[in-house]
Amino acid sequence: MSFSFGKELSAAEVDYCCSGCRAVAGVEGAERERGTAASSLLRLGLAIFFTMNVMVFTMALWSQDVYPAQSFTSALAVSLRGVFRWASLVFALPVLWLLGGPIVKGVWQALRRGAITTDLLILLGVSAAYGYSVISVLRGSGHVYFEVGSMVLVFVSLGRWLEAKGKRRTGESLDALANLLPATVRRLDTHGNFLEKPREQVLTGDVLRVLPGERFPVDGLIAAGEASVDEQMVTGESNPIEKSSGDTVLSGTLNVDGDLRIEVTAADGRETVSRLIELVRTARSAKGRQEQLADRIAAWFVPTVCILAVAAGWHQGQTGGFDQGILTGLAVVLIACPCALGLATPMAVWTALGRAAECGVLFRSGKVMQQLASIDFACFDKTGTLTRGSPAVGRLLVTDPQQFQQMVDVAATVAAGSTHHLSQAILDFAGKHGSESQAAERSSVDTIPGKGLRGEVSTLGSVFIGSHRLMDESQLSWPAELAAKLTEYEDAQQVFVGWDGQVRGAFCFVEEIRSEATEAIEACRRLRLELRVLTGDRAGRAAVIGQHFTVATKSEQLPDDKVAAIEALARQGSVAMVGDGLNDAPALAAATVGVALGCGADVSRDAAGVCLLSNDLRRFPWAVGLARMTGRVVKQNLFWAFTYNCVGIALAATGRLNPIWAALAMAVSSLLVVTNSLRLSHYPESLSAAVDTATNVPDEAPQSLLSSGSAPAMSPTRNLAATPS
């Protein structure tokens, strides 16, 4: 799969804004045909070779200017001078043919659209320099400027080539994603045989065979077999998940150990990885505010530069002669070429979007990234965001302390008959306390919908586990000592256990705070964000969380209240809302930037501006850091491009800049912008290093080095670029 900008059309068939973009398309297309890239490189190489020849002869001519007294005395020197002039003509013409050709093609296409580009002016200037020099050689007098013409062509082409290489690199992380999918699949045909077919030919409803160690080529349902599936690539979950018949599998995830038959639910192009890539691509094509600004500037920039170049050239021509006029005009056009200006924002934003996708963060657009960089407030949903969605047993209250272990065993035995998440939490608790449920008795458990469970335990008779109401309805009495203890835990969710006419104990559930939440909140503080927790939960439970993180908390917030709270904050600054994206949709939409957690299972869920594929909350401050860093890089790029253009134009218009230097500066300027932007592709993957990079606080570096060492979940091997600069 390729990510060409011109989709299926070849470079020649499509109109481009500048020859830089055409070069990108050329290099992109070369993905399919390596030969094209090689031949354009050979062209450039040959042109450099010829230009070096031109330079040698020009230097020989110049050295006669250095020693004028000795040069013009001997007849040999004079005839050598003629030979050198002819030689530079002979070597300069191939350069015009090799490098001028592609520029002519671009200019011609632009002219057919009625557009005037700086390339046209560069071409005019170069042709004039060549023309003037050819006439000089033929007449045997006058200056020659072949070195100017050929060097300008070489530097312009070199700059564009580097630009194209740079632009291509912004897409590399996406290519890496796409390349994960196997190219061929084993498809079941009508005769019951599995045949190898290209992935593109798979249709919804086909049955495929996926062997251990292979990645799923498409989305599907397991039709037969079971396996552990590593979904880290999509959800960020590092522990493999057991899957069996009827479970969904996502493209790009890894079948660790099973021989599976899967029924295709989403074929190539519509499956998870393709949708993920499509999202990033859409994000890239949406232009941010700064990009639109740059476009608007470029719109009047080119005509202005044209006028300026002609005016400066004419003025210099009046005083310094026709050739000086040409050179001045050419220098103005070259130095003013808005290449760097046009590249400044998209290069940085594209690189950052790619880097983010690589680390499991999807931005809907570059605009969202700019908005995230400027947020002042971050609001968090509680359940499922700061805490894990499923509760854990915090405490088991029993009427008689002697009965504790018996209670655990009994509860586990009954809970084993249910898949309810509270039953699972009880089983987890029992597991930690060394209990083993009696498998033989599992069959005798009934679920009472909405209330709880009733199980038959041989030694005790009917055992009830469930709500207060279930206990009352089952006519179980409430011992006084239990009731007293319960008041202490009234904020917690409670499940009661009773048998033989009496409630015997109660499980008090607590929400488990995500292990990485503290680190994430701390990082948000270092990014100077003001934090809030908005939760629909009761005040008591919310207060616990608020104290744990020392964050202002608003409890008992209905979805509408959350929206109102965010709107109130929005009057003071930009707000980001972080939620799990399921019950927070209105709040996510109301915030300046909505951030949804754990959308790996469905990447195109239209929830929020920023989508964290994993449930790892640390990715939120990471993304803010990346967005700020990107903003900084964009500003640096724009500042550099503007300064360079303004200073350069002033120098060139007054005839103080040789076109060769102008062309070199143009290439170097593009290279600077590209290189500066590509720094973002090394943005550290670990949170602490990333925040250090984004905040540029050197004195906090030693501490952060320690904390990055204690975060094994995030790859420490990629932190090499994390040194605060």
Binding site: L41, M52, V56, M59, A60, S63, V66
Partner: protein
């Protein structure tokens, strides 16, 4: 130019040193060649490309030297001083190679070829004569202490022509060994290589010494002539 043969020998034998850096490129030129192509011809074309670049750089250095000496004429005998500087650098290079002077600690740009390898590969593996030629042309630009020392020498000549000639002589000197290495010959044992390197180092030392002597003589003769003395050195 009394040193030209010495420069040639310095290149000829000094290229034992180049095998470390340019050798792998020459070998991959042969390894990446399309089937049925004369390896010798490819190697020769590749080396001509290198010599071309050396010549170009030599001419540029010569022009730079000329420009410097004209620009500064009247108070500094830059050409003479350039000759002395080149001589000192060459002398040091030679002595370092001989092991008589400790090696400088930094390995400048030791990683450089890795960065170029990707696009240089395009040239190295393409057929025809253009690929090998261009590979040679760009290999010539790879930073190399020996080349820079001789470039200083070329600069001190103060003439485009002599500068070109100096570097061309050096480049031609490097051809035989590079062609042999590229051809895959392993005729050089480690012992043989170090012996060659010793002779080359003495040649370089000698070139350096001659260059210093020339510079000193020039300085002497010009100081006798009625050239304006350096304004900074004037007694008042």
């Amino acid at each position: 130019m009394i040193e030209l043969p010495l420069v040639f020998v310095g290149g000829l034998l000094g290229s034992a040193h180049c095998i470390g850096m340019c050798g792998p490129l020459a070998i991959s030129l042969s390894a990446g060649a399309p089937a049925g192509v004369s390896h010798l011809r490819r190697q020769l074309v590749y080396s001509l490309g290198r010599v071309f670049t050396y010549g170009f750089c030599g001419a540029a250095a010569g022009f730079g030297g000329a420009w410097l000496s004209t620009g500064s004429r009247g108070f500094v005998w830059s050409q003479a001083w350039l000759a002395i500087l080149a001589g000192v650098v060459l002398l040091l290079m030679g002595l370092v190679t001989l092991g008589l002077v400790p090696k400088p600690a930094t390995r400048l740009l030791a990683r450089f070829p890795c960065g170029t390898a990707t696009w240089l590969k395009t040239f190295l593996t393409s057929g025809g004569w253009t690929g090998p030629l261009l590979a040679g042309v760009f290999t010539g630009f790879i930073p190399c202490g020996l080349v820079y020392a001789f470039l200083l020498k070329a600069g001190s000549s103060g003439s485009v022509w002599l500068g070109w000639l100096t570097m061309a002589a050096f480049g031609l000197g490097t051809i035989p060994l590079m062609v042999l290495v590229g051809g895959g010959s392993r005729f050089l044992s480690v012992m043989g290589r170090s012996r060659l390197l010793q002779i080359a180092a003495w040649c370089i030392v000698l070139t350096g010494a001659i260059s210093i002597a020339r510079g000193a003589t020039q300085l002497n003769s010009t100081s006798l002539a009625a050239t304006a003395p350096c304004p900074l050195c004037q007694p008042e």
